[in-house]
């Protein structure tokens, strides 16, 4: 039973050897030996047990461990153990010496270019014959263990198969077989040996498992088959996406183009990253994956990022930062709008404004300002003064917002009794068309107390302006008929006209008097 993670490591390593490194005949065998030694670990405990016992040669599993070493091509370790046996059993000293010698002399492929394949083959043939001779001479006849070891060295399949339990898997069997019968195996020949090894090992008793099929496909150099089988067996795309990515980077998958335009690597990465996005915290990693998909990555990211649930402001800020870094302005606007609407519904006008500033959303800022102004009209006072008093440069984001800020300033000036300034501001609000028309009546009504003051505040010029504003407001289209019929409104207009006229009178006199003296 191999756990999923070890299975993945097994497959990955094999792909590295066969595809990425593309080991050639010679080094190929060495790599495969390393691979078997690393991944077939069921025998490790047994080995440890024997090695750490006081008298290893007396241990009942002693010969098993020696067999394991030989099967895995670990000659030095096998010889070391055998020497212990030899010292314990001086009668078999002769046999031991010969076996030891054979093991020492066994030709193996070297990693450097110190010998060619033909040289190796020649040497190996020579050595093989020598082993054959010793076996046939009956040198090891008295010790069945050693005899069986010699047979293994000769690549005798039956002898090797006898030790099935020590090898545990057919691919171990394959490599052992290759080591002792075809050490110069070429990559393209692997498939035949693999198939026969699996058949021999399983012997018709059990059928191959999915893992076996994947490894077989690898030995047959069918990369696409490997990916396909892995996709079917594994429950998520992680392994397949990364393997395909690796193979793609080694330029091994170029030939295959899928029908919908993107290549297999991108397809798998997109699938994997999309899967990540459904996770509550791993979505951030998905972003990086999309970044590395040149064709569709950006589109996928744009669609996914908008759907990340934004349950706190902090999460929204992280999402926004990702969008801003990639110039996804549409998404920034849409996310800010969502957050601003949420804030508005919860009556957090300051938060709503803060979101519209981040998105530079003038329309929303106008909406918020209208909300404030509505509140003012209904209640007669401003809510959230801390916000309006401290708008700063963000006031310029939208005209309505500017109006709101300036209107509040007017109230402040009035409260501080700085009437001339307040008056000037009020007038500017109307003449410069900062105030929306709907608000003019309110502004003019605000002007009333200023007109009624003991001191004259509005100059003649300003009074004329005010009158003009009033006329603009009351004249105009017949739609305004309705508001003219309203009693309160008509009274207001009357009062205004009266106040303006009186102010005008006073100011003309005042201005005339000053000039005179």
């Amino acid at each position: 039973q191999v756990s999923i993670l070890s299975a993945m490591e097994l497959i990955w390593n094999l792909c590295e050897i066969l595809f990425v490194e593309a080991a050639a005949a010679g080094p190929l065998l060495l790599r495969l030996l390393d691979w078997v030694r690393l991944h077939v670990c069921d025998v490790d405990t047994m080995v440890r047990e024997v090695l750490s016992s006081e008298n290893p040669s007396k241990h009942k599993l002693f010969w098993n461990v020696v067999d394991v070493f030989v099967l895995q091509g670990r000659m030095d370790e096998a010889r070391h153990l055998l020497s212990k046996e030899a010292t314990a059993n001086p009668t078999s000293m002769n046999m031991y010496k010969i076996l030891d010698d054979l093991m020492k002399k066994m030709p193996v492929p070297s990693l450097g270019n110190t010998q060619t394949l033909t040289e190796l083959e020649l040497k190996w043939q020579h050595w093989h014959e020598e082993c054959q001779r010793y076996l046939q001479d009956g040198t090891f006849a008295s010790n069945p263990h050693m005899e069986s070891l010699c047979k293994v060295l000769l690549g005798d399949e039956d002898a090797i198969l006898e030790k099935k339990e020590l090898m545990t898997t057919w691919y171990h069997f394959l490599v052992t077989r290759l080591l002792y019968s075809h050490p110069t195996v070429k990559p393209m020949e692997l498939r035949f040996y693999a198939q026969s090894s699996m058949d021999l090992f399983l012997g018709g008793e059990s059928s191959p498992e999915p893992l076996d099929m994947i490894l077989m496909a690898a030995f047959e150099f069918e990369m696409h088959q490997v990916i396909k089988e892995c996709s079917i067996v594994l429950s998520n795309w992680w392994f397949v996406a990364h393997l395909t990515d690796l193979l793609d980077h080694c330029k091994l998958l170029q030939s295959h183009n899928l029908y919908f335009g993107s290549n297999m690597r991108e397809f798998l990465l997109l699938e994997y990253a999309s899967g990540l996005f459904s996770h509550h915290s791993l979505w951030q990693l998905g972003v990086d994956y999309f970044d590395h998909c040149p064709e569709y990555g950006r589109v996928y990211l744009e669609l996914h990022i908008e759907r990340v649930p934004l349950n706190t402001e902090q999460k929204a800020l992280k999402v926004l930062r990702i969008c801003e870094q990639r110039q996804m302005h549409e998404q920034v606007r849409s996310i800010c709008k969502i957050m601003a609407m949420k804030a508005l519904r919860n009556n957090r006008l300051g938060s709503a404004l803060s979101w519209s500033i981040r998105a530079k959303d003038a329309a929303f800022a106008t909406l918020i300002s209208d909300r404030f102004l509505k509140d003012y009209c209904e209640r007669g006072c401003f809510s959230d003064l801390d916000l309006i008093d401290n708008l700063g440069p963000s006031m310029l984001l939208s005209d309505r917002l500017t109006f709101l800020g300036k209107y509040r300033e007017f109230h402040r000036l009035y409260g501080e009794k700085r009437f001339p300034e307040a008056a000037r501001l009020l007038l500017t609000l109307m003449t410069a068309h900062i105030a929306p028309c709907s608000f003019w009546m309110t502004l003019l009504t605000d002007a009333l107390p200023l007109l009624e003051q003991k001191e004259v505040i509005f100059s003649a010029e300003q009074t004329y302006e005010l009158m003009r504003c009033l006329e603009d407001l009351t004249a105009g289209n017949p739609d305004k008929q309705k508001f003219q019929e309203d009693d309160v409104e008509t009274t207001k207009v009357e009062m205004l006209r009266l106040a303006l006229a009186r102010n005008l009178a006073r100011v003309i006199v005042k201005e005339g008097t000053v000039e005179g003296s």
């Binding site: 951030q284 992280k318 919860n346 009556n347 957090r348 300051g350 803060s354 801390d386 401290n390 440069p393």
Partner: protein, 335 residues
Amino acid sequence: QDNRISIWSAGDLGNVGLNGEYHGEPHLLCDIQHNGDVMDMQFLDQERIVVASSTGTVTIFRHHQNNQTLSANHRWEKAHYHVDQDTSCGGAACTGVVCNNPEIVTVGEDGRINLFRADQKDAVRTIDNADSSTLHAVTFLRTTEILTVNSIGQLKIWDLRQQRNEPSQIFSLAGDRVPLHCVDRHPNQQHIVATGGQDGMLSIWDIRQGTMPVSLLNAHEAEMWEVHFHPSNPDHLFTCSEDGSLWHWDASTNVSEKPSFLHQGGRSTTYLSHSTINQSVVSAWLSNDPTKDRMEITNLIPNQTLSVNSLDVLGPCLVYGTDAEAIYVNRQLFA
């Protein structure tokens, strides 16, 4: 979602390697399930931890050291909530918590400030609508005054002795109203306050004077999530950010005056000392002449990837956590 509160042991000092590096790994002592994201937390005393949740709940957990377990001691549900026009009452994230045993102050996205006492079931005081925007962080200025920062770039002082629901003072940034995310007060000189903004800017304020910051230091490239003065060496400041970096700001200017356990090591930076002896009393943070004093700023993260969300510092230890699901412990901060 499975969020947990966990207590880790950062190991003993027994495993020190050749270069004095620390070899042990932090290991988990105990943990407990938590409802919602953990937005902030702080130790109330040796055994109790106050945790702020994104659901608006504030919980006190007790750590039982004899059998290494955590249990929920007390909970204030709906400490922070929104009153929605459509639905009735939804939770609002509690964004910050600060403790001064037995008092606990919390702030949240609902703009509300709560004052709790550890042994009382209901809140001692609640300031509804203290702010029209989100309050991001809170810290104690004095035992009866707190500082809050919000998402329209304002720093406010609240006097808890007074009954009116208005801040006693409001400070704001000069230019754009960039949201402020964190605040910390100088441990010894209580008029010095540091805040971090959404644009990664570090601002130092002198709250005795003016309504604007004394200095603005361009720091990170993204939101600054936390700022902390070192509690015993306040010439050192630490900030962490969404851009994945953690900066150590060293404003200690006079080498000879430093206590002996702060080693300079192999650094070759020169420090220009203050010109007069009187000025050495004034904190280096307030002097705004960049040519006079050099501040050394170091990024403590060699290969940064995802956001550093939180940090804390005590003595020679620095702890920080990132979005990469990692916690880092540095036990030799000044080596």
